[in-house]
Amino acid sequence: MHQDCKKLVIFDSEKTSFQHIKHFPKFVSMIKKAAIILFLGFSLLQAQTADMQELMSALEISAENTQKVDILISLSGKLLDSDIKKAADYAEDGLKLAKKLKYTIGEAKASIMLGKVRLKQNQLAKAANNFEAALSWAEKNAEAPVLLDFYFHLAQVYQRQNKKEQTEIIRQKYNNLQLKIQQNQVNQSNQEKIDLLQDQFSKQKDSASLARLEVIKAQSATDSAWNIISQQEAILNKQRLELVTLENETYRIEQEKLQTELLLRKEQQELTLQQQRFYWVLAGSAFLLILGLSGWFFYQSRQARKMAQREHLEAERLRLLTAGIAHEIKNPLNFVNNFAEGSTELSAEAEEILDTNEQDLTPEQFALLKELVTELKQNSVDIKKNGLRVNEIVRSMSDYASGRKSKGQPTALNDLVEEQINRAYKSYRAQHSGFDLKIEKKYDSSLTPVEIVTQDVGRVLLNIINNAYDAMLQKQQANKENYTPTLTITTNSQNGEAIIRIRDNGTGIPQEVRDKIFTPFFTTKPTGTGNTGLGLAISYDIIVKDHHGKLKVESEPGEFTEFIIILPKKQVNH
């Protein structure tokens, strides 16, 4: 669209320029006519303004300046033929004023005028003096017709004075000048201009112009007016030509400018096109990249979703399987454990009866029965003990498989820790009556509630505390003198995380064992203690997988073990 507009402008300007050229001759002749009229008019006007009255009144209002000198000279000239006395006065006044003003041109002109006046008055010596005073100026600066007129008068003075030699010199100068003027007029300036016009006009085959040219040719030598007109015309023509040339030049420059502009525009367009192409390529690449990335993300998320689904499905299957197995085991186990316990009671009763009836039996019979009853009692105790072991294994197994689906809730960690310590302590004391320990609690009272699955984290705490008790009991049983089992619990908050440290001064964990403690079914505890090796594995899952926290262990064998539970304050997503 823009380009089209530009083209239109170009054609338009071309049309205008051609129009100028086409109408040029007509225009020139018109100008020529106007110039003639103007010239004649101007001459007439000059004559009118040179009117005596006007000059007189101009003289009256004029101040003593160069203009007054000129007026005085003109007046003198006007009165030269009618009032020679006044002409002399004006010329003398003019000369005086010019001298006073140091108006060199005026002085010279006035001298010439005064010379003419003296010549008329036949005061030849004075006239000669006046003329000679202006001679060097006139020869140097005066225009040709003025100088010619000057020579004419000076020659007359010398002739009348009978100065033949000087007369001849001036006459020679006069003739030379006249010749020179004629040559100049005909050969040089006029001919040149005429040729130019002829060339122009002949080309156009303008008969009127040709006729005019013939007239000019014929008159050029003698008619100065026509010469001047020709000069004017020539000047006008030259100016016109110059104008045309200028216009052509302007047009050329404009066109060049346009060409350059067009070229520039084309380059810009190409650049823009290139840029656009670049942007398109960029946009395309970006689009492809985004497409690729989103595709990849989509694929990834789908994979992740699939994986999560599969994991969820597997977890659910495992949970159902373990729940089923647990149920099927627990039912018979109920009988095993309870009948065993019943047997223990019954054998205890039987033993009691046997003891009270010892006197009715022979010592051998009593000893045998006593031994049998004791063995039965022991058997049932052992059955019960192992039954409990099975029960514990099944419980851990179903706990592990149940997937801990509970939702998180804001929990005061200090309270939870305190609760678990007490619970563990009570149950441990019930099993190991001789065991006593020191518990140091360092709770951070500024610890704000943390969103956790209370039950699960409670189980982790209980598990770790129980392990600590086991380690300290083991160390105590190894007959360590001056040993005070000490459990140190510390809570604090740091970098948006809640930290619980459970430290015991028990047996410690050797390096090679430390790496395996979070592995399922790994245990160092003797069989028959109801330990499944799942405690820390479950704890690890609860803290790390469920709560996105950290579970660390630090230990020095024989010195201490410290479990560190780190829980982010905001989290839990099941």
């Binding site: 729940a323 647990a326 627990k330 009988f335 095993v336 454990n337 316990e341 419980r395």
Partner: protein, 119 residues
């Protein structure tokens, strides 16, 4: 105090009788055993006064929870305690929702049960 025990495993009778031998001998506790939910409802229809019902959940035909619902409708005041080998929370929640007074998991802790019954 009469206690009705409902379980499809018949060994349960011998176990209870053995474990509560002293309480039975002293007449403190009296046990009745049925081995299906239907039998339990028939027994209850006789109008015999029962202080506590101990019922298993996983039984063929009608299960313990269904039985619990019916008992709750027909005998709103009847105390029922569920006992099961399921340690799953869903069963515990369901049982509580249907109006069970307690929920025991197998293997049964008889010391614990004895305390509950006598207090």
């Amino acid at each position: 105090m009469r206690i009705l025990v409902i379980d499809d495993e018949k060994d349960i009778q011998r176990l209870f009788e053995q474990r509560f031998r002293k309480e039975r001998q002293s007449g403190e506790l009296e046990f009745r055993f049925v081995f299906s939910a239907a039998d339990a409802l028939s027994y209850l229809e006789l109008g015999t006064d029962v202080a506590l019902i101990l019922s298993d959940i996983n039984m063929p035909e009608m299960n313990g929870l269904e039985l619990l619902k019916i008992i709750r409708e027909q005998y709103p005041e009847q105390k029922v305690c569920m006992m099961t080998a399921y340690s799953d929370d869903t069963f515990r929640q369901q049982a509580t929702m249907y109006g069970a007074h307690d929920y025991l998991t197998k293997p049964i802790d008889f010391e614990h049960l004895r305390e509950k019954i006598l207090n």
